[in-house]
């Protein structure tokens, strides 16, 4: 191994292909989807499902490796790198659309991180079936956001039927509607619900349960209206005496005096944080490219290489934005490269999210500011990207929560020592 920044061929090819998708399937209808919240773009969903399947694994957050050609040399894994590049490119097209790309999403990622081999085999196969299929993850509750230990949802084992009975209120479930509602055009999805099997055990009592689409007692109670990413459905879900089979609990069903249950959730986040960062950076890149294009049209050139003292304010801003964006992307790449190479990346993963949260919001805010009325007008997509961007610093751990995670790692502190 040696330090190398050459993009692997398969990544470059995929990027080129997805750019075509972004330009032809996403951008032309971005505005329409923004203005018709909760509309479902079946064309896109069906097209993406077919396309991703032909690429060897339908969309989702679980890494997929190309099958090595016979006799070919074994290559280092790049599954997570592929995901990051893919997500960045799709988000460059439209991050709302990206969030409704069919596949396992955060739901499958939870199964991947906390499930047994049998569970993975059982729950993850469906995403490669004929119909596009979704899965979602339900952690957040009205009274429990950043503080996941405050989760109230409860799972009790009915020993007679060997089923879990789940009760709780979940909110802000990305793709919750598409994962749970049984649309004819979709395959059967699921939601992964975090609930406690022993509230007295705190985090050690937390478990994730796979709840299949259509399970009785589970209802979508609301679809949110949002600042941005309006193509993506964000659902509130209530569970009243919902019954799921015993084997749908991910990982171990017994409560040990440890926090393994919660660690399952955290492992999910280690894997997905750089991917969320990548989705933000796609939006930021779109905004920066648009800004540069408009400046160029207006005869404003960026004179790289000049000392700061000779640059105009606009030039300085653009240069700073490029520094932020490029360095932030490298942090994502490093985090996913570590994941591919089975190196523990909790620190890098959270740092990439901290940085991308900052960069994505700043770059889009600045781009709107610099372009004046062009930035504010709905004639262009920039104002939408500004609205879309903000979510990057909120979900998958807010900027503050990720700072805490980073700080604890570098200081060697526990959650109790730094809260």
């Amino acid at each position: 191994m040696t330090i190398d920044f050459e993009a692997p061929k398969p990544l470059v090819n995929m990027q080129t292909m997805l750019q075509t998708v972004a330009e032809n399937m996403m951008r032309p209808t971005s505005r329409e989807m923004d203005e018709n919240e909760h509309a479902i773009p079946w064309d896109y969903i069906e097209f993406m499902h077919t396309a991703m399947r032909s690429m060897g694994g339908a969309g989702g957050l679980a890494p997929v490796e190309d099958k090595p050609k016979e006799g070919a040399e074994k290559r280092p894994p790049i599954g997570y790198q592929k995901l990051a590049v893919q997500i960045e490119m799709l988000a460059w097209g439209d991050v709302g659309y990206y969030l409704i790309t069919p596949g396992g999403g955060l739901g499958a990622a939870a199964v991947q991180a906390a499930g047994t081999p049998e569970q993975k085999a059982k729950f993850l196969a469906r995403f490669n079936d004929d119909k596009p299929t979704f899965a979602a993850m339900c952690m957040t509750e009205p009274g429990a956001g950043s503080d996941t230990s405050a989760i109230r949802a409860r799972a009790v084992l009915d020993e007679k039927t060997n089923e879990w009975i789940i009760n709780g209120e979940k909110i802000f479930v990305t793709a919750g509607d598409k994962s749970f509602t049984e649309y004819e055009k979709l395959g059967k999805g699921f939601i992964v619900v975090w609930a406690s099997i022993d509230p007295s055990a705190g985090r050690a009592g937390m478990r994730a349960f796979v709840v299949e689409a259509g399970t009785p007692g589970v209802k979508i109670t609301k679809l949110e209206h949002k600042l941005g990413i309006r193509a993506s459905d964000t659902a509130a879900i209530s569970l009243v005496d919902a019954r799921v089979p015993f084997e749908n609990v991910l990982g171990s069903p017994t409560v040990e005096k440890s926090t393994t249950g919660f660690k399952g959730a955290m492992a999910t986040f280690d894997a997905t944080r750089p991917l969320v960062a990548a989705s933000g950076l796609g939006v930021a890149r779109a905004a920066l490219e648009f800004l540069k294009e408009k400046l160029k049209e207006n005869g404003v050139e960026i004179r790289y290489g000049l000392p700061r003292q000779k640059l105009t304010n606009i030039e300085r801003e653009v240069i700073d934005m490029e520094i932020m964006l490029k360095s932030s992307w490298l942090m994502v790449l490093k985090a996913v490269w570590m994941a591919d190479n089975k190196k523990s990346n909790a620190l890098e993963s959270s740092m990439s999210k901290v940085k991308a949260g900052d960069v994505t919001t700043k770059v889009t805010q600045k781009a709107v500011e610099i372009l004046g009325p062009l930035g504010y007008s709905r004639e262009f997509l920039l104002e939408k990207w500004f609205r879309d961007a903000k979510i990057t610093d909120i979900y998958e751990g807010t900027g503050q929560i990720n700072r805490l995670v980073v700080a604890r790692q570098i200081l060697g502190y526990t959650g109790a020592e730094l809260r």
Binding site: T2, Q81, G305, S327, L330, W337, K355, I410
Partner: protein, 362 residues
């Protein structure tokens, strides 16, 4: 194929330089700054690590190939120990690396074996000039062709070890473009200030002002000259790598201090205001480190946008170093302001990266 792992040889170099930085440079830093004097042995010991020697091909007396990536890895470590010490150890590169990058075959043969084959010797370079908007691509020092020689006029500032320099590369404006010129010790019209330059930080590094009045010099690369951008970018990534090293040093001190210092019944590191500072310092450092690695890699691999990448890395690094070293002082509170504590010097050094160029090259 992406990879973020130094190879074995690089790792060995990082470890060796790291040890030198930690055991030799760091302990000497404070007194060297205050007395404006680096221990002589320190510089020769650093020279013996063989960094320049290992980046010079065998044909010119060295035993390796130059790699900007290896360079930024080593320099971050060295600057982490102490910036002034690192710059002093690497001063001969200010002459040797431009010769390697832009010199004619004859010039390489003439100088490189002598420099890399011997003890540390004051070969240096003179780029900066005293103007607020100093621009390496629009120098005020001029060069005019006269026969196969060139006549230099102008004034250079912040030239490390100029006093006893065996030879120096002076950068000058030749018909609108920047070119390097080799000026030999004792050339007529060359005068070096008696007084050392006094600057905000880097006081252990002897720097001088150099005047050129109709000095006759030979052009780097001979009559056809050389590509100055290669040299400039090698200076930019070096500046960026050094900035990361200085920032990391301040960060480490501040982190350790914050875990020791009590206030309001807890360690100050347990306060989010301090913990978030540290998290952001670590994050920004890592961001710029990776940007620097990538720029160096692009230079090594002749990528189209390598020069822009080097410029962006340098620019970002200057901001980052200021931010991190400022916070280093802030976290120490009143004690950060006192020169006994290391973060104070680091803040002065941290500010330099936006103003200084050409004091180090890889």
């Amino acid at each position: 194929m992406y990879s973020f792992e130094p190879n074995e040889e690089q790792q060995m170099l990082i470890d060796a330089v790291g040890k030198f930085a930690e055991n030799d440079l760091r302990p000497a830093a404070h007194d060297a700054e205050e007395s404006r004097e680096l221990p002589k042995k320190l510089v020769s010991k650093g020279w013996e690590l063989g960094f320049l020697q290992a980046s010079t091909p065998e044909a010119y007396g060295g035993f390796g190939e130059r790699s900007a990536v290896t360079g930024v890895l080593a320099l971050e470590e060295m600057a982490y120990g102490d910036l002034a010490g690192a710059l002093a150890v690497l001063t001969p590169s200010l002459f040797a690396t431009p010769v390697l990058l832009g010199g004619s075959e004859e010039q390489k043969q003439q100088y490189l074996p002598k420099i890399v084959g011997g003890d540390w010797a004051p070969y240096t370079g003179a780029l900066m000039e005293m103007s607020f908007d100093f621009d390496p691509n629009a120098l005020k020092t001029t060069a005019k062709a006269e026969g196969d020689k060139y006549i230099l006029n102008g004034e250079k500032i912040f030239v490390p070890f100029a006093k006893d320099a065996e030879a120096l590369i002076v950068y000058a404006n030749l018909d609108g473009i920047t070119q390097g010129f080799i000026v030999e010790k004792g050339s007529a019209g060359l005068s070096v200030s008696d007084e050392r330059e006094k600057v905000m930080g880097l006081n252990a590094l002897p720097m001088y002002r150099v005047k050129l009045e109709n000095v006759s010099a030979s052009r780097l690369g001979g009559a056809s000259g050389h590509d100055f951008e290669l040299i400039l970018s090698a200076m930019r990534v070096a500046s960026a790598a050094a900035a990361v090293g200085v920032a990391r040093s301040s960060f480490e001190f501040a982190k350790n201090y914050a875990k020791e210092r009590d206030a309001f019944g807890v360690k100050i590191a347990q306060k989010q205001a301090i913990a978030f500072f540290l998290a952001e310092m670590a994050t920004e450092m890592e961001a710029i480190r990776l940007l620097t690695w990538e720029a160096a890699w692009k230079l090594d691999n002749n990528k189209e946008d390598a020069h822009t990448a080097a410029y962006l890395a340098q620019t970002g690094a200057a901001d980052m170093a200021m931010m991190v070293t400022d916070r280093g002082v802030q976290i120490y509170g009143g004690h950060g302001y006192i020169r006994e504590n290391p973060v104070e010097l680091l803040m002065r050094n941290g500010r330099g990266f936006a103003s200084l160029l050409g004091l180090v090259i890889l």
